[in-house]
Amino acid sequence: MDETTQTPGEGTNTAESVTSESPKKVLAVEDDLFLKELLAGKLSDDEFNVFYASNGDEALTIASTELPDVILLDILLPGMSGYEVLEKLKADENTKNIPVIILSNFGQPEDIEKGKALGAVDFLVKANNSLDAIVSRVREIATSPQA
């Protein structure tokens, strides 16, 4: 994907940004409002430009229009499951290169296997990770050089 051409117009304050580039875009797909709010707060504090989706359809729409740098994807969603969303993202030429981190409360080995097989770059269990850990993983992936 081409990061440099996607400069967002939303005027967030970029005072302490590590890079000189514009803030990275993160799409968080999460249906639990409270979790979403906590994630949002943390990610915004860390200078990310955050987009939200609370179901699969919304997620796919935002992903194809905004082309975020990273997608945080829950599995248990109303309607389409996170796995289906992942499949659709990977099937679409526009979105197939966006790195997807699964952030779920599923954490059985077979869940992780399935997520990785579908193309997720990482699989984080919500309850076992602090917000800091999640955010630093998002940053790591958003700034890593992509093909």
Partner: protein, 519 residues
């Protein structure tokens, strides 16, 4: 002429005298007692045998009435009367002689009629034959026969009695057999009885139903090589010819899981006479177990989302500036954060159980260096051990331990659980010793602590899900009763076994085996 006559007379007299002498000698010699009786029944002469038997001299005897020598006087008179009328000898008659010397003697009385030349009756010869001894002998013989007859009767009776007893015993045996038979036939467990060679001698209806076979097609066939049905084949495949007693859970089909055990039947001498294979249907237990696991899994998943939210909320509060939050509140928030982490740990434990329960969840078996695993676990718990002043020791019998065939992470979990438990239930100070010993087929590992031990009455439940011993609850309030349950599942999944020895107040040793890696 007269002279001639005289001479003749003289010669005749001499002849007569000769005859008389002859007769006297003869009669004296004759062993039979004989007396001569005149027509009116008076004894006129006796021989010496008569004197001897009767005890009366010839002088005493002569002139006595013959019947007076006997007890049965009338009978003797009648007998002589009969004799008188008959031409020949009469038959003998048994009477009792009153002997002067010997008392009463049983005698055979015979008599013959005497006649003169004209045929006129001139008296009797009476013979007496002492048959007392013969009679005695006969009586004794009869007594003996009677005695033996009695004996025989007794014995017959005895025989009859024992016959009845045997019949009774037989009917008891029969009854016992019937009881056993109906017990076997109506037992809710399936039973298959085989002889020493493993040929099926009996199969009850439950086993027929469970294995989907008919007794007609399996009786007499070898249990180790049966393919009477898919299920029977499954059973055959898992039976071990050599081992007497074993227990295994076999999943015959989706709706049949059975616990199969083999019991050796020995006679009084201890020789193997056959085996019983018991099939205990645990499908329902299994289904219930699955339901429980599913419930735990769902509940745990459901809980993790709000718990993650709470955790993150506390995290945000904690990381916010000190000015925004009063110090006394900060401590409360810290406690809240800690508690949430504890709940999460418990919930995660539930999910570990879930993973262990899942039969074919992704175990990756590979050669594993046990020593390395133990060292890792030791270093993980070293801080906690130091705080409790507990020493961790590893003693291996062999310099270099052979590799085991294991899932490294799960093997670590076994050690982690056992060593953490040992530490948790050592109140203060002590040693935890881990030993490993290579055996031909597996590695025997023991974890020994000097902790609170497991009360005897609670030992049987120690591997049960959610079970916690009373003294463990008092010592360590945290704990969900899943650790050892999970540990056992994992050990068994590796094909090993786990057991323990424990003395309350002195400590516990857990043993487990893990198969060696086979090149």
């Amino acid at each position: 002429m007269a002279e001639q006559n005289n001479e003749e007379l003289e010669r005749m007299k001499e002849d007569l005298e000769d005859i008389e002498m002859y007769l006297q000698e003869f009669s004296a010699f004759l062993p039979l007692s004989v007396c001569s009786v005149n027509p009116i029944g008076v004894v006129i002469s006796v021989n010496s045998a008569f004197e001897n038997v009767s005890g009366y001299s010839a002088l005493d005897s002569t002139g006595k009435r013959v019947e007076d020598f006997f007890v049965e006087t009338e009978e003797v008179k009648a007998f002589l009367g009969e004799t008188r009328e008959s031409k020949n000898f009469t038959e003998s008659k048994q009477v009792t002689l009153l002997s002067k010397s010997y008392g009463k003697r049983t005698v055979d009385l015979t008599a013959s009629r005497r006649s003169d030349r004209e045929g006129d009756f001139i008296g009797f010869f009476v013979g007496i034959n002492d048959i007392t001894e013969l009679t005695d002998l006969q009586n004794r013989l009869e007594d003996k026969v009677a005695e033996q007859t009695q004996d025989l009767l007794l014995r017959t009776e005895e025989l009859e009695r024992s016959r009845r007893e045997i019949m009774l015993a037989l009917s008891n045996v029969e009854e016992e057999r019937n009881k056993t038979f109906s017990l076997v036939m109506n037992l809710s467990d399936g039973l298959v009885y085989t002889d020493v060679e493993g040929n099926i001698e009996m199969i009850n209806p439950q086993a027929e139903a469970l294995l989907r076979v008919n007794h007609k097609e399996v009786l007499g066939t070898a249990v180790f090589a049966s393919s009477a049905s898919d299920r029977f084949q499954k059973l055959s495949a898992s039976l071990n010819k050599d081992r007497g007693l074993e227990r295994e859970v076999i999943e015959f089909s989706e709706d049949l899981v059975a616990e199969v055990s083999t019991v050796s039947i020995n006679n009084e001498k201890g020789e193997l006479v056959g085996r019983v294979i018991v099939l205990h249907d645990i499908s329902k237990d299994k289904a219930l177990d699955n339901l429980k696991v599913e419930f735990i899994s769902v509940a745990a998943h459901q809980m993790r989302t709000p718990l993650a939210a709470i955790k993150w909320a506390f995290e945000i509060l904690l990381s916010s500036d000190d000015e925004k939050i009063a110090p006394e509140l900060k401590r409360i928030v810290e406690n809240g954060f800690e508690s949430t982490n504890r709940i999460l740990k418990i919930v995660n434990n539930f999910l570990d159980v879930d993973a262990a329960e899942t039969v074919n969840s992704d175990y990756v078996f590979a050669p594993v260096n046990v020593q390395k695993v133990i060292e890792d676990v030791f270093s993980g718990v070293s801080i906690a051990a130091r705080e409790k002043r507990v020493e961790l020791l590893f003693e291996n019998q062999d310099q270099v331990l052979p590799y085991v065939q294991a899932d490294q992470e799960r093997l670590g979990m076994i050690f982690q659980n056992l060593i953490e438990n040992a530490l948790k239930y050592t109140i203060k100070e002590g040693t935890i010793t881990v030993k490993a010993e290579a055996r031909p087929r597996d590695l025997l590992i023991s974890v020994t602590d000097e902790g609170i031990g497991i009360p005897v009455q609670e030992q049987k439940n120690i591997f049960s899900k959610f079970f916690r011993a009373e003294n463990a609850k008092k010592t360590e309030t945290d704990g969900n009763g899943l650790g050892l349950h999970t540990t056992r599942r994992v050990v068994e999944r590796h094909g090993g076994a786990i057991w323990f020895e424990s003395v309350e107040g002195q400590g516990t040793t857990f043993y487990f085996t893990i198969p060696l890696y086979n090149k």
